[in-house]
Every structure is written in structure tokens, then in C-alpha cells.
Symmetry: C2
Subunit: 371 residues, 2 copies
């Protein structure tokens, strides 16, 4: 195999469940000259990434940095460091990612208890409180924004119940961070992970995480070794901390991109960014309504950044989705699990959340649904 020309991707409008489009300066950052991972100039940039991530997560947690893997590696990072075999955990399951957390926790040897809601609905504080009457888990894990359904579970009341029960609170914010409020310290979240390719609008490849001092204490005073060498926070704390002990080679270019995307987010301002996501969601919802389309997730708890749009009777989900991609170069996502064939997942995340993009999508849908 010998290819004569470089790969040239087409320009897509990315309105799926991620990746979202990246800003031009983020793509430029990726192509900048490489530095060594222990170069003082790179190390200085790592410090800026940590400081900016703390602002985006709204936390003072020292242990805040990007794991060198995608969002799922961030999930695994949290569980492998906090769980030892035999530990009990309580997990809210209302979509793909809660289900995945159970699998990851079980692979760490956890005894997993589930609290379940139908796909599209949220996990209610009462469900957690009821479960906590019978068990005393080491941690409770919740998916803030379920990417598979578009439901946003409110966290504050759940967090209070979790801490009253003496447990740690672990939260998946892969899709929420940067698109709607996420307040780690105020909401007393002990372990949190996200991905770069959603509302941070940086290409996929890194998983921002943050551990509270309580979580870090548990991770660094375990009886057993962390089962993953690659994700062991005892090493990563030294690598991303002051001593800079070599662990693995950080993905240099991806960190350039994350640095630039965080810079853009803080220059826009978190509040302004959240308002933009809300406004474009409302614009989409109004336009969908004119087309006779609804949103499948629970009213009052619908995500701004990911919309599970119901497929009307007699319409082929996949035909419309493929026509959007092939004829309009617009990507939207398919439904997963019980929502397969029943919804399109329309993401308005980060750079992709623009009024022009909403209109372009709605115009295309109007034409396609008429056919």
C-alpha cells in the first residue's frame, strides 16, 4: 500500500453527539511545532492548562488535569483510583453512560447497586435517598448529562444526600462541561471527568478530570495497587505536580489544542457560553416544533447541548441522517439502545452551537421531510 496524496477530509457541520467543530485557532494550535514533554516551556503550558481547567470546573482542587485518553479513559481513571475490590458503589442508570459506569466499576471489583430511570428521564434525588437507606456505599456515581438521551440530572440535592451518607460523589460531565453550569466545589463533587470533544470544542483525545482532597486521600492511601498503571493517580500526581517525575509521554499536540480551547472558553466567559447554548437550544426547539418534531427527553430537564429529536411515524431515521451527511454535509447522531431508530441526536456543542447552524439544520430537515 502506497498512498500518493495525504488524506483530505471534507468540511462537515458536526451536529452529532461529538466531536463538535473546533475553532480555527484550536486546529491551528494542533499543528504547532512539537516540544519535548519535559521541556520547561511545555511544563509552563501544562500549568496554564491546570489553572484554566480549574476555572472551567469551578474548583480549587489541586488534582485537576487532562488524562491522556478519551472521555471513557476519564471514567476509568475515576473508578480505578477510588475503588478497591469489594467496595460498594451506587450508580444512577438512565442511559448508555450509566450502564457503562456499572461495567467499569464491576471490572474494578466493586459491588454495584443500581438506581434506574427510563431512558430520557433523570435520576431523582428521592431514588438515591431511598437506596441510601439500605446500603452504605463508598461512592455514588451519576451521569450529569446523558449523551444517549439528552437528559440533564440536577446534582445539588443528590450531592447533599450522598455526603450525608458519608459517600464520595462521582459525576460524568462529558457532555455538560462548557455547555451548561458545572460547579465542582459548590456542588461538592469529589471526582469528575469530562471529554474534550463536546462543549470544550477541542478534538477528542483528552479527558479533563478533577479529584477533591477527600477523593485524592482515598486514592493515595489504598491497601491495593491501582489496577491500571497508565491511570494510577499516584504517578500522575507526580507527573502533573511539582516534581514532574516522568510517567508517560503526554500527548503534546492535543494539549496545545486543549490549551487554546480553554483560552477561548474563558475569554468568552462561562456565563455567556452557557447562555449561548441555551439560546440555540431554544431556537432549535422552536424550529422543530414548526416542523411538527419534538424532543424525546423529559420536559424541564432537556439538555441544551444534545437534543434527542423524535422521528415521526413513517420516516426512516437512517435515511434522513444519511441524506443530511451526504447531501448537506451535516452530521447528526443515531439513537442508541432503546432509542435506536426512534430519535436523531442533534448536538449543539461548543463551536457547533451557533444560530446559523441551527437554521442550516432546520432548513435541511424541512426539505428532507417534505420528500
Amino acid at each position: 500500500m502506497q498512498l500518493n496524496t495525504p488524506f483530505t477530509p471534507p468540511q462537515r457541520l458536526l451536529l452529532g453527539p461529538g466531536p463538535s467543530n473546533a475553532a480555527p485557532t484550536v486546529l491551528e494550535a494542533l499543528g504547532k511545532p512539537l516540544l519535548g514533554h519535559l521541556d520547561p516551556v511545555f511544563v509552563g503550558m501544562m500549568e496554564e492548562i491546570k489553572a484554566m481547567l480549574r476555572e472551567v470546573f469551578q474548583t480549587k482542587n489541586e488534582m485537576t488535569f487532562p488524562v491522556s485518553g478519551t472521555g471513557s479513559a476519564g471514567m476509568e481513571f475515576c473508578f480505578v483510583n477510588l475503588i478497591e475490590p469489594g467496595d460498594e458503589v451506587l450508580i444512577g442508570v438512565n442511559g448508555v453512560f450509566g450502564t457503562r459506569m456499572c461495567d467499569v466499576a464491576e471490572r474494578c471489583g466493586a459491588v454495584v447497586h443500581r438506581v434506574e430511570s427510563p431512558w430520557g428521564e433523570i435520576i431523582h434525588p428521592e431514588q438515591i435517598k431511598t437506596a441510601l437507606k439500605d446500603i452504605k456505599p463508598k461512592l455514588v456515581a451519576i451521569v450529569h448529562a446523558e449523551t444517549s438521551t439528552g437528559a440533564l440530572t440536577p446534582l445539588e440535592e443528590i450531592s447533599r444526600a450522598v455526603h450525608e451518607a458519608g459517600a464520595l460523589f462521582l459525576v460524568d460531565t462529558v457532555t455538560s462541561l462548557g455547555g451548561c453550569p458545572v460547579k465542582v466545589d459548590e456542588w461538592q463533587i469529589d471526582a469528575i471527568y469530562s471529554g474534550t470533544q463536546k462543549c470544550l470544542s477541542c478534538p477528542p483525545g483528552l479527558a479533563p478530570v478533577s479529584l477533591s482532597p477527600a477523593a485524592l486521600e482515598i486514592a493515595t492511601s489504598r491497601k491495593t495497587k491501582v489496577q491500571s498503571w497508565y491511570l494510577d493517580v499516584n504517578f500522575l500526581a507526580a507527573y502533573w505536580g511539582e516534581t514532574r517525575v516522568y510517567h508517560h509521554t503526554a500527548p503534546i499536540s492535543m494539549n496545545y489544542a486543549l490549551h487554546e480551547s480553554l483560552r477561548l472558553i474563558l475569554n468568552e466567559g462561562l456565563e455567556a457560553r452557557w447562555k449561548r447554548h441555551e439560546a440555540n437550544h431554544q431556537r432549535l426547539k422552536a424550529g422543530l416544533s414548526e416542523l411538527g418534531l419534538g424532543i424525546a427527553s423529559q420536559e424541564g430537564h432537556q439538555l441544551w447541548q444534545l437534543n434527542a429529536v423524535t422521528v415521526p411515524d413513517g420516516v426512516s431515521e437512517s435515511e434522513i441522517r444519511e441524506a443530511l451527511l451526504n447531501d448537506y454535509s451535516i452530521e447528526v447522531g443515531a439513537g442508541l439502545g432503546p432509542l435506536k431508530g426512534k430519535v436523531w441526536r442533534v448536538g449543539l456543542m461548543g463551536e457547533s452551537s451557533q444560530s446559523e447552524h441551527v437554521d442550516r439544520f432546520l432548513d435541511a430537515m424541512k426539505t428532507l421531510l417534505k420528500k
Copy 2:
């Protein structure tokens, strides 16, 4: 924290243990527009990556693809998939990375037996044969090119002994792949991993791996679940295989870069590339000799792509290394473990392996050592 301008790294000549410099078209590839990870155009490019990786690894193994993490994630991928608790493994230890393999294997529950050589020397076939008289391990693991010392362990005779003993053969080629011969099928390697940032000259962030049918059979017929969800080949085979079942979001931009770097490698030709690495190593060695400097690793088994250059008596290793970086913008690496303060690690990997680079380094050293 609000930064007014994007991060701008200086231009470095990267002659350390990796990352090496990337070709201009590889850096350009990183900045190309994002695609969704299930976009047919991206999926087509994934197929080209797999086909090109097979050529670079010299294998027909179907299960050949880049793990979404750095080289150490590739190491972990091999061990977590092949090892179940209680399995015996035999590991050659002659530097940092053999030591790391022991740690990773133990975290998988393996009973680890070590065969050790002094740092800078190779693992001899006789050592492995002797060890295999007493134990019957499930797998034997060897570091082909020890990045911490610059020693290249020949694999063919070891491989024969391993297979005669009925074990799988696992090899670390993080530093060797793309810089000197690596022949997976001819040498009967069952599990192999590498990193992108060495002789492939792609930024760090992906770990090319390949599993033989025998290794894949073991990984897919385990009694216990793979302890890492993120690295479970049972999922990854479906994601990178024909069914394209969603697992995690592949790092899009990093895969663009890997595609381009593999394209450049195959257009140069593997044989020509190996010869270039050999010639520049010889040029370096001759120049070092004129400066009264030697190479610390075992004569006859010195890596072309990574040279552990001995620090003369009375010279400060760190002062010279820092002056190279600050005054000449040339990065070289420090020694690790027992070689700390005693060697500079001078990499001539991929794009960094050029005669002009060798001369630029030698000229700088000549000036600095005179001071």
C-alpha cells in the same frame, strides 16, 4: 485567568528519547477539519491506517490498529487482554521499560518471573532458555529497544525458545518500530505495541498494536473480564473491525497525523528508512569519538535511534543538557535510574534522524565541552 494570546512554542530540534520532530505534512494533517468518528470517510481512513500499520509491522494480523493512548497504554493493552489472575509470565528486565512491564503485569494479577541484565546490556537467548527450564509461563515479554539505555535485544532466537516452551511472545517496540527492522510475522511475535512519537515521527498520543490470531484467541476466550473497559480488545475488535460498534470516540486529529506519518514512511520505504537511521547513528558515533565521547550501551547491540552518550569526568550532565536547550534549542534526554547523571540520551528518530541534525548537535557539543 484570562490569556490574551495563544500559546506559541519555540522551534526545537528534538534529539531526545521522544517525541521526535514531525514532518510538516504531519503537523498539517493535525489541523485538518474534524470528522465524526463514525463518518464513513473517517472509517475509510481507519482502514487505510490498519493496512499501512500492517506493512510497517510486517504482519498479516487482522487485529492491528492504534490504541487511543500513548505507548504505555499500548503496553497495558497487551497485558490486560492476555493475562488473567494467577498466570505466570517471564519478563526480560534491562532498563526502565522491562521494569515497567513487571509492574503492569503484577497489576493484572500475574505471577512475574524476571530475567535480568545490567542496564545497557541486552537480554541473551541463553538467559531465557535457562529460565524456561524451570517455569512454564503463559507469555514471555521482551523490550526490543530499551529507550532508557540504547540497547537492542535480538528477538529471533528468543522467539524460537518461547514458542518451543508453548508460550506467547510479547514485544515492546516503542522505540524500534520505523527505525530498524521489526518483523512481526517472520519473528513470530504474538503481541506487540509501539508509540507514535519515536521513529514513526507522529506526535505522542496513539499506541499502534498488533495481536496474532493465537493471542487474539486467548484474549477473546478468557474466563474473566478484561480489567480495563477502555482497553478491552473484545470491544476494540468490534470498533476497529467490520461492525463498527461504538466503543469510545477515537482521537480524530491524532489519527489524521498517524495516517500521514505512515504514508510518509511507506513512501520512503522501510529498508531505506532503516539505512538512514543506521547511517546517521554511524555519523554520530564517529563525531562523538572525535570529541572523546563514547556510547554506554553494549557494543554490537547499540540502537541506531537512541544513543546513550557517556558524560566525561568533571562535566555536569545537566549543565550541558540545559545549555543545549537554552542556547541551541536542541533537546536531548537525561539518563534514568542507574544511568542518571552518567549519560545524555541522544535520539535520532524518524524525521530527527538527518545528517544536518547530527552535525548541528556535534558542533554544539564541541563548543560546550570546550568551555
